[in-house]
């Protein structure tokens, strides 16, 4: 159709031809996100969250680079330098709030992106490596977010850093020395702040590199789709441009509307009030809570007490503290093994009547873990945290493998085109 025409006219341009001959960048772009990249025609709006995460990464890098120009990484100056950004730097409050809330929205986009992958089986052959790179991106994001949160040097920054770095002391034999090494001192202090600042600037570019690999792997076989059925031919696809470029742009508009609503009208909604108190190494806040995106992991960490049933089998081997640390990191790393833990031959939950329900229970379980993480470990929250943690691991290690064998899936459509003419669900 007519979209092809401007592209080809563009390719006839003398300058374009000169560059293209020496470095075929225009055809590279066209094959990446242009009319030369065929995408399944039935992708729904859940497929928007990849590009939204990419947008969030760009917002974070741009706002972060500008913030660094005004920030001072020193324990005596960091807090006030952030407040100077908020008060004196032209539009500094906007840039700081963009960065602060951008982190939350980056995680929102990525978590939805992950759950979309889980629902539609996007991790199955031949996209296992694509999925594993995705898990690495999540890990790098978590490390980046954690270190970034330390930089304003408020009470939550300081005590969050203390608690999380102390996790490593659970490691037998070398634990204590490792923590001292991480700190560069005997407590979290100026050396810690400076190394976290350095790594917080480095890691986003590692994430960027991983994202490029993620997209590379994606383009090798193309996108999965809501039916989970492989693309059979050109009748199943439409060119990425203009169909998905405009759909992604529209999604970005909606995303920015919600994101900027928080930036302008509820900028501290996702934050903790205690972080507006300067760090004090002699007074711990009543309850230390990590940022919301760490709450499920935090709940898993805290679930491991001496009374916890999942701890019993390993209690002769390690302390509950170490078991909690291993479980917390394990809960993320285990995600990388899902392509093998899920034994079902069918990709999409649309045709897996039982998995579909377990998927939503898993989402619910994850939300419950998040709420447990937000509350002090007392009363009902302890039990709830342990039940939810048990279910989390049961879902990945027991339900997924068994379900793939026992479940009787529905008939999958012949092809994507066939599913469009006779809609499923």
């Amino acid at each position: 159709m007519s979209e092809q025409q401007p592209t080809s006219k563009f390719m006839q341009n003398g300058v374009v031809k000169w560059i293209e001959h020496r470095m075929p960048i225009f055809s590279f772009i066209d094959h990446s996100v242009g009319s030369g990249y065929p995408a399944p025609k039935n992708l729904n709006y859940w497929w928007n969250f990849g590009s939204l995460a990419g947008l969030a990464l760009i917002i974070m890098i741009v706002s972060g680079i500008v913030l660094v120009m005004h920030y001072t990484p020193h324990t005596t100056l960091a807090f006030n330098s952030v407040e100077r950004i908020m008060r004196d730097v032209n539009g500094g409050w906007l840039i700081r709030y963009l960065h602060m809330n951008g982190a939350s929205f980056f995680f929102i986009a990525v978590y939805i992106h992950i759950f979309r992958g889980l629902y539609f089986g996007s991790y199955k052959y031949p996209r296992e490596l694509l999925w594993i790179i995705g898990v690495l991106i999540l890990l790098a994001m978590m490390a980046t977010a954690f270190m970034g949160y330390v930089l304003p040097w408020g009470q939550m920054s300081y005590w969050g850093a203390t608690v999380i770095t102390n996790l490593f002391s659970a490691i037998p034999v070398v634990g204590e020395s490792l923590v001292t090494l991480l700190w560069g001192g005997f407590v979290v202090d100026n050396p810690t702040l400076n190394r976290f600042f350095s790594l917080h600037y480095l890691l986003p570019f590692v994430i960027l590199g991983l994202v490029i690999m993620h997209i590379w792997a994606l383009h090798t076989f193309g996108s999965n789709n809501p039916t989970g059925v492989d693309v059979k031919g050109p009748q199943d696809t439409i060119p990425f441009h203009p169909y998905f470029t405009i759909k992604d742009l529209y999604g970005m508009g909606v995303f920015m509307l919600i994101f900027l609503f928080f930036v302008f009208f509820a900028p501290n909604y996702f934050g903790e009030a205690d972080n507006y108190i300067p760090a004090d190494s002699l007074a711990t806040p009543p309850h230390i809570v990590p940022e919301w995106y760490f709450l499920p992991s935090y709940a898993i960490l805290r679930a491991f007490t001496n009374e916890f049933i999942l701890y019993w089998p390993v209690s002769w081997l390690m302390t509950a503290k170490l078991a909690g640390v291993i479980a917390m990191f394990g809960s993320i790393i285990l995600l990388a093994l899902i392509p093998w833990l899920d034994t079902s031959k069918v990709r999409s939950a649309r045709y897996r009547p039982v998995y579909k329900w377990f998927f939503w229970i898993f989402v619910l379980d994850w939300i419950v873990l998040g709420m447990v993480g937000a509350h002090p470990a007392e009363g009902i929250w302890v039990v709830l945290g342990q039940v939810a943690t048990t279910y989390y691991f049961a879902h990945l290690l027991v339900i997924l493998p068994i379900l793939g064998v026992l479940e009787r899936p529905l008939a999958t459509p012949e092809s994507i085109s066939a599913s469009v003419t006779q809609p499923a669900e």
């Binding site: 159709m1 007519s2 741009v62 706002s63 500008v66 120009m69 005004h70 100077r84 008060r87 004196d88 730097v89 032209n90 539009g91 500094g92 906007l94 840039i95 742009l249």
Partner: protein, 184 residues
């Protein structure tokens, strides 16, 4: 697909025009929005409110005797304040008619002839000229001398010899009283 019909029916043309119009207007609004959203990032590099709050400097002139100079810091730059002697003022006025690379009347460079206030940064490449303290070289014209590349300034701070293109700049300043100036 459009290749199938070489002359599309008019309804399709209409549809096409409407779509092109929507595309162009959306792209324009989007481009404007993107450009505007970059402005806060650029503007954040301009001097911040605390920097601007220190943009003026007040100086008490009372302790400066005739023939003495002081250097004060204004916006991070040295400002030369010289209590000129009668001879220097006469010389400066006489040189109004000399061959000047950057012609300016002495009367236009001072508010009160006794007090010469100017930014002490050589207009060549930004060094700080000598001549403020007793015993420092004052150049061939009895004013200031820049040691970096040999620019000579006269008793009105005008460039007379050497590579500098312009006179030493006079900042905006005002006399708040006979013995108090506010620079900036």
């Amino acid at each position: 697909m459009s290749d199938t019909a070489s002359t599309p029916p008019s309804a399709e043309i209409d549809e096409q025009t409407r779509r092109d119009f929507l595309l162009v207007s959306t792209a324009t609004v989007g481009a404007v929005g993107t450009a505007l959203s970059l402005w806060p990032f650029v503007n954040s590099l301009n001097p911040a409110a605390d920097t601007l709050a220190l943009a003026t400097t007040e100086v008490n002139l009372a302790p400066i005797a005739e023939g003495q100079s002081i250097t004060v810091v204004w916006q991070g730059k040295p400002v030369f304040i010289r209590h000129r002697t009668k001879a220097e003022i006469e010389q400066a006025k006489a040189d109004d008619s000399a061959a000047l690379p950057d012609p300016a009347k002495d009367a236009d460079r001072v508010i009160k002839p006794d007090w010469l206030v100017m930014v002490g940064v050589c207009t060549h490449l930004g060094c700080i000229p000598l001549g403020q303290k007793e015993g420092e070289p004052k150049g061939d014209f009895g004013g200031w001398f820049c040691p970096c590349h040999g620019s000579h300034y006269d008793t009105s701070g005008r460039i007379r010899k050497g590579p500098a293109p312009l006179n030493l700049p006079v900042p905006t300043y005002e006399f708040q009283s006979d013995t108090q100036v506010k620079i900036g």
